[in-house]
């Protein structure tokens, strides 16, 4: 009988709604292993559960847009800096500056959004292809690379668009000549990032112009025959913006989450994926801030001309 009463008591206690914190809803672009590690670590630290919707950058944005009349997301982590610019322009972001953002370079933060980390754009080549090791963007216009170069399509890959924007901002005439020479060298623009990388890994092609570096470094770590090269004349970063949405019903928890993303622990999890941590004082597991030559350009201004840039790129490549 005693046991029964005890069991009943335990049952009642379990049945009473516990006043656990409401879950924080985060929409995050891949890598999924990073998102779920962050969610778990945050929950362990604060006790607040995180409901993580993981998908591609395009799909989390599409879901957010389609949900607007009844929004669910509190925080978004995108892989495309342009998303932060667009949402900021539309006034949909909650202003917040995390105290942990002090060590994030000025170009990668504003009052409304901040980078979690960044990828650098690179040349990736397959040493098995027998091609000479490229060192500069323009090397790939050389006849020895004819028919061997692929590039992600700026219309389908935000990072490839950033590279085009950066090179054009650095030296417009030079950049467009470079692209038309690449086209003359039978550059293949097959689709998004993976579509450009796969033929190079499979040996059908030899080099990627504008590969997302941490994916290449990760593939190499898994034994793929692939090398990453950062041209000394400069490359661009593809930062991953973190945003709190104005429609969030858990703004305080959301701010805690952003603080956590930029904490030592959060940044180390970013480094584990071979992504460049946004904080310059957290060591990277790949070429770090002082080893990369970054082209400095106005991302906002470039974003305004994005449609024209994409169209021009398409017409230059089609020739």
């Amino acid at each position: 009988m005693k046991q029964f009463v005890a069991a009943l008591a335990v049952g009642l206690v379990l049945a009473t709604p516990t006043f656990a914190a409401e879950p924080l809803v985060v929409y995050s672009a891949g890598p999924a292993s990073l998102s779920s590690a962050l969610a778990k670590a945050f929950e362990a630290k604060t006790g607040t559960p995180v409901e993580m919707f993981e998908s591609t950058a395009g799909k989390i944005m599409a879901r957010y847009q389609a949900e607007k009349s009844n929004p669910h997301a509190d925080v978004m982590i995108s892989a495309s800096w342009g998303h932060a610019l667009t949402l900021d322009e539309a006034g949909e972001l909650l202003p917040y500056t995390s105290p942990n953002a002090a060590q994030v370079p000025a170009a990668l933060k504003s009052d409304r959004y901040v980078a979690q980390g960044a990828a650098a754009l690179s040349i990736a080549y397959n040493p098995k292809s027998g091609l000479p090791a490229p060192q500069h963007w323009a090397d790939l216009t050389h006849p020895s690379y004819k028919g061997q170069v692929t590039m992600p399509d700026p219309a389908k890959s935000g990072s490839a668009l950033t590279l085009v924007q950066g090179l054009v901002a650095q030296d417009s005439a030079n950049a467009w000549t470079l692209f038309s020479q690449l086209a003359a060298n039978d550059l293949l623009v097959p689709g998004a990032n993976k579509a450009a990388l796969n033929p190079v890994l499979q040996g059908a092609k030899g080099v990627v112009f504008g590969a997302v570096d941490y994916i290449i470094i990760g593939a190499k770590a898994k034994g793929e025959s692939i090398e990453v090269v950062y041209p000394s004349e400069g490359t661009v970063l593809a930062p991953r913006p973190v945003m709190i949405l104005k429609s969030s019903r858990h703004a305080e928890t959301a701010k805690q989450f952003v603080d956590f993303l930029l904490s030592d622990q959060g940044q180390q999890l970013v480094a584990e994926e071979y992504i460049l941590p946004a904080r310059t004082d957290v060591p990277a597991k790949r070429p770090g801030w002082n080893e990369l030559a970054i082209i400095d350009f106005d991302a906002k201004q470039a974003a305004e001309q994005a449609t024209a840039t994409k169209a021009k790129f398409a017409s230059v490549i089609a020739k």
Partner: protein, 570 residues
């Protein structure tokens, strides 16, 4: 006739369910398909409808329709769809004809094999053809030749897509051939008809309605398909409308109203295809009176048997074995750059599927449960809709019929957006959104066209005299549907159910967009597991899905309904 007059009263009473059935079918179709389609339409017209605002009406229309490349893309979409539909018919017809003459056991084996293409996601299929035939692909590594030139060409895309889609026509028409039975052919043979004559003059006209309606599905599916044109077409600058739609979804900026506007073009194309199909179907309509479902088996000569083996063997090799082998081998390759060699073989990717404790199994059971429910739900709704459209023929059923092909005409991403717009509204007292049920709603919406097409076509072949006889004997609608038509349609319903199951168990695009946080299906699990990883991992996932869903389908084929096409009336 006197008997009919005598029992007319009872028959009329028995038919009182008519308006109710029509209302139920309409309600289901409008909720499952009509609402999301309406949402897409509204989004195209009112670009801020997502914020529940009618501001800036029509502002998205012109900028999106003014794109100079759109005409070319539309023409490409059309010619691709026509090409694939024609080639699929050419591939499927001889197989379906011979299938109807085979013994149940032998036929079942080929049926099981030809279901495999439905289990292969189109993009994985296209990637495997690339892996096989490209420069330095498997064929070059093993045999020293590549077919890259053919693969990256219009005929190449058409062939790859037709090899993937022709089973749709095969399943529908082989059931139709079976319904016709052998008697007509036997009669013709007695009168000295040659096999070709018998096929062209007797069987072909009789299966034409089924051929047309399954051809319509293939046409519409080709227009909507993204994977193959994206993967192969981008190699030679072949742009179709879906490619343009996906650019609006792919990275930045996201343009949902623009994608909805372009989806309207696809809806229009589907509409014209549907009208054309209707006109042709009216001209060539046929109903089989006096059918013999249990075709008396005729002895098959050894020569004929060899021809059958050659015919089915080569079809299965091209459409099933080659892709499957490529997928299997790719799944076993450690690195992509390592190529085909023994020391590059590893179980890493297959093993990698199961590293996260329990999560993989949870995803598999989620997917299988959803796929099973989707198959049951889809087929049940399809039987109701087919009955309403074919037998009731009241006003408005044509709209139902057209509505039923729309989900196949629009890319899965757009359908997913339509579903969010529909079900994420605060005014619903209860909603499937943000629960796993939204995936079920999505799968049923996306797969309904298959069973509806197959069942309406099959029902058109069943003579009305069957229903009339039952009505005269005092049966009501429900009784006619459940006791007479359903058993007769059982083989077709089961075949359609397998197709729905196969497609739902691997669906990726809308799942990626609609899965509530924390819920994973097989497809999204693997997509996440290997987000940035190699395509070998995707191949490993496909292999597992094909094996798991495939074995369930093989087990399902042993259900009594599929073995005895004559259907027991108990």
């Amino acid at each position: 006739m006197p008997a009919a007059t005598l029992t007319a009263g009872a028959a009329w009473q028995g038919r009182s369910l008519r308006p109710l059935l029509l209302a139920l079918a309409t309600l289901l179709m409008l909720t499952l398909i009509g609402l999301p389609m309406l949402a897409i339409l509204l989004y195209a017209l009112f670009p801020q409808i997502n914020e529940w605002s009618l501001a800036a009406p029509f502002s998205a229309l012109l900028p999106n329709l003014m794109d100079a490349q759109l005409i070319g893309a539309t023409l490409n979409s059309l010619s691709l769809s026509l090409g694939v539909t024609l080639l699929s018919c050419i591939l499927a017809l001889p197989l379906a004809f011979r299938r109807a003459q085979m013994s149940t056991r032998q036929g079942r084996l080929w049926d099981a094999l030809l279901l495999v293409p439905f289990l292969i996601p189109p993009y994985i299929g296209a990637l495997s053809w690339m892996q096989l035939l490209q420069v330095n692909g498997f064929s070059e590594q093993l045999l020293g030749f590549n077919l890259a030139g053919f693969l990256y060409s219009f005929p190449g895309i058409v062939t790859v897509m037709a090899l993937h889609l022709f089973p749709m026509i095969y399943f529908a028409t082989s059931k139709a051939f079976a319904v016709i039975g052998n008697r007509y052919g036997d009669v013709a043979r007695v009168f000295g008809g040659s096999p070709l004559q018998i096929f062209a003059r007797i069987h072909l006209p009789m299966v034409l309605p089924t051929l047309l309606s399954s051809g319509l599905i293939v046409f519409v599916l080709t227009i909507e398909e993204f994977g193959t044109p994206e993967i192969l077409g981008s190699r030679f600058g072949f742009r179709v409308i879906v490619t343009a739609i996906h650019e609006k979804f792919s990275d930045w900026p996201i343009d949902l109203p623009g994608a909805s506007v372009l989806s309207l073009i696809l809806i229009l194309l589907a509409f014209f295809a549907y009208r054309l199909h209707q006109r042709l179907a009216r001209r060539f309509s046929s109903a089989v009176e006096n059918q013999s479902l249990a075709a008396p088996a005729r002895p098959v000569s050894t020569a004929q048997r060899l021809i059958d083996l050659l015919l089915f063997g080569s079809a299965v090799t091209l459409a099933v074995l080659l892709p499957l082998l490529t997928i299997g081998v790719s799944a076993l390759l450690d690195t992509l750059s390592g190529g085909l060699s023994l020391d590059n073989m590893s179980l890493r990717h297959l093993g990698g599927l199961f590293v996260r404790d329990g999560a993989a199994w949870a995803a598999i059971s989620t997917s299988l449960t959803l796929a099973l429910l989707a198959a049951l739900g889809s087929v049940a709704i399809a039987i109701l809709v087919a009955f309403t459209v074919v037998r009731l023929r009241t006003r408005g059923t044509a709209l139902l019929d057209f509505l039923s092909i729309l989900p196949n005409a629009i890319p899965g991403m757009a359908v997913a957006v339509g579903l969010i717009l529909t079900w994420n509204q605060p005014f619903w007292p209860a909603t499937p959104y943000n629960t796993p049920a939204i995936l079920l709603v999505a799968y049923i919406c996306l797969t309904l066209p298959y069973p509806i097409r197959m069942l309406t076509a099959a029902l058109k072949q069943l003579p009305r005299s069957l229903d009339d006889a039952a009505y005269i004997s005092g049966a009501g609608e429900l009784r006619v549907i459940l006791r007479i038509l359903t058993p007769l349609l059982a083989p077709v319903a089961l075949a359609a159910g397998f197709i729905v199951f196969a497609i739902a168990s691997r669906e990726l695009v809308s799942s990626l967009m609609l899965a509530p946080p924390g819920v994973e299906t097989v497809a999204t699990y693997v997509f996440h597991q290997f987000d940035q990883g190699s395509i070998n991992a995707g191949m490993a996932m496909s292999l597992v899905t094909i094996l798991v869903s495939g074995s369930i389908i093989v087990l399902g084929q042993r259900l009594p309904g599929s073995r005895q096409p004559e259907g027991k009336t108990q």
